[in-house]
């Protein structure tokens, strides 16, 4: 293991690597169709040059639209160094959606996206506060959204310190070496992408190759030749199916969603070491990682304590990686985090001190692309398009399936999947592709419910024969 150590800030991490490994490659990026390299020393210099410019902005909170580029990482590092609360935004969202998220998190300015910065200026006017950064001695806060722009989406307040600790915990169980190249394919506005696609490698002195976006998922592995990569299950399935795995790749870290066994099997058959991780935005990413034969039985990271409540819920205690709370939402924070213990909403069991996740207590569907759907909210939106219909959404193989009861099957010949599809089409177009209904099942039996009227989603999933 190469110099595994704890850091309390990104800049401390950067300085340490720049001093220890000044001429070693920190990043591989694409420049004019070729792989270009940035050393640790050059990265530190780029941050130092940017910090003075950033300080001139005033205000105390800045946003970065995370397109995965080198300048995006540089902007985040410089803002944190300058003491700005930094909000990480999803590059696939529309300008209206981004403005909505910035409004909810009191963003003063946007760094690295002039068009969006202009829109924010038009909306909010000039920054009145002439001070720069938060001026506090505490660690800089970084806000991650739990999912898109739904009403259930929350901004989780993490810090440089919690994120650095998360990288330490991951590296402790699953170290990368200085010879490794970690390919960063996942968006940095997701905590799994930020920690496991970037910090995990960078903090240990490995090289981080910055993926070139969706259009290059088919050739990024052959272009950068990584030895390790962090992926969501769906992405790994895609890489395997299309034979996109490069010969140098030896380690795959899967996270952010349930992974079907056949995908893990497929990766192992290619000779890859596969580790499966469990974590939440609220815990700054990884809580436990599988290291052995059973991919779903996970060793708990050193800073974490895990217990199972009487009703089977996974409870997490931690002092180094835990969120400060949900931004401006003390009620939800108190509901999730009491006496320092996080109520995850996930169900699990402990086997010889190792964690196995068995299901979900909350009505949240975690999709195979790592995104989440809050089912009651999703179904309320569908109900507007399907008035009077009895229906439910559940997850099958990591995708949302819609089950609709054909209550008047004798006189309602027109109810078929295509008809329903047309009714919900405009709503689907507003959703990210992975969250759109994958299959519509018209069923001739009433939806299975509990005595209190709750839909038994598990039975629906099992009864796909409908």
């Amino acid at each position: 293991m190469d110099k595994l150590r704890r850091y309390s800030s990104f800049y401390e991490m950067v300085c340490s690597q720049a001093e220890r490994l000044p001429q070693k490659t920190a990043f591989k990026i694409e420049r004019e169709g070729k792989v270009a390299e940035v050393t640790f020393a050059a990265f530190k210099e780029d941050i130092d040059n940017l910090v003075s410019k950033v300080m001139g902005h005033g205000g105390s909170c800045a946003a970065v639209v995370c397109d995965g580029s080198y300048s995006c990482i540089l902007n985040i590092m410089a803002l944190c160094r300058a003491g700005y609360q930094t909000v990480l935004l999803d590059a696939s969202l529309s300008e209206e959606e981004l403005l909505e998220l910035m409004d909810a998190t009191d963003v003063d300015f946007v760094l690295g996206d002039e068009d969006l910065e202009e829109l924010l200026r038009e909306k909010n006017g000039e920054i009145s506060d002439s001070s720069s950064g938060d001026g506090s001695a505490g660690p800089t806060r970084i806000l991650f959204f739990t999912s898109g722009t739904t009403e259930h989406s929350k901004a989780v307040v993490l810090t440089e310190s919690t994120l650095c600790s998360s990288a330490y915990n991951g590296s402790y169980l699953l170290p990368l070496s200085e010879d490794d190249t970690l390919l960063c394919l996942l968006p940095l506005n997701h905590v799994f992408g930020f920690v496991c696609g970037f910090l995990w490698g960078f903090s240990g002195g490995s090289c981080v190759a910055l993926g070139r976006g969706m259009r290059h998922l088919i050739d990024d592995l052959s272009f950068f030749k990584p030895t390790a990569v962090s992926v969501v299950p769906q992405l790994l399935g895609f890489l395997l199916k299309n034979n996109l795995i490069n010969t140098e790749l030896s380690l795959v870290l899967i996270g952010a969603g349930d992974c079907p066994p056949e995908i893990i099997r497929g990766a192992r058959e290619r000779g890859l070491k596969v580790s499966f991780g469990y974590g939440l935005t609220e815990t700054s990413s990884g809580v436990a990682l599988s290291l052995g034969e059973d991919p779903y039985l996970m060793t708990i990271c050193p800073d974490f304590e895990v217990a199972i409540s009487e009703d089977g819920e996974v409870l997490i205690g931690n002092t180094t990686c835990m969120m400060a709370g949900y931004y401006n939402d003390p009620a939800d924070t108190a509901a999730a985090l009491s006496d320092g213990v996080l109520h995850t909403g996930d169900l699990g069991v402990l086997e010889d001190g190792k964690l196995r996740i068995t299901g979900r207590k909350k009505e949240i569907l975690v999709l195979s692309d790592g995104t989440k759907i809050f089912l009651p909210e999703y179904e309320r939106a569908l109900a507007k398009r399907l008035p009077g219909r009895d229906f439910a959404v559940t997850g099958v193989d990591g995708s949302p399936y819609l089950f609709v009861y054909n209550a008047n099957k004798d006189c309602d010949n027109g109810l078929d999947a295509a008809h329903i599809g047309r009714s919900i089409e405009t709503f689907m177009m507003k959703l990210p592709r992975g969250q759109q209904i994958k299959k519509i099942c018209v069923i001739n039996n009433p939806l299975p419910r509990t005595a209190t009227g709750k839909i038994k989603r598990w039975e629906l999933k099992e009864g796909r024969r409908y």
């Binding site: 590059a91 969706m214 259009r215 769906q234 895609f238 195979s368 089409e425 177009m429 592709r433 992975g434």
Partner: protein, 85 residues
């Protein structure tokens, strides 16, 4: 690259070819302009990404990322390409 003019029918045929090539499990399943990509074919968002990238390369066009989620049916895809040729 040669800027060939395609008819709508030709774009549809090439789109279908690329879908069959990218999702061989659909072989034998008829595809038409009315086919809804998500619910009728079972192609997931990654598979869709692959198809759009191949179509963009084939027709030398670029469909902006933020438009992708609006492409529900094959007809939407064909129209998006047609507009950019």
């Amino acid at each position: 690259m040669e800027n060939k003019k395609y008819t709508r029918a030709e774009i549809l045929e090439i789109t279908k070819e690329i879908i069959y090539e990218s999702a061989p499990e659909l072989e034998g399943k008829p595809l038409s302009e009315e086919t809804v990509i998500n619910t009728d074919t079972g192609i997931d968002s990654m598979g869709f990404t692959l198809i759009i990238c191949r179509l963009e390369a084939r027709f030398d066009v670029k469909i902006p990322d933020r438009q992708w989620k609006k492409l529900q049916s094959l007809s939407d895809v064909v129209t998006a390409i047609e507009k950019r040729l």
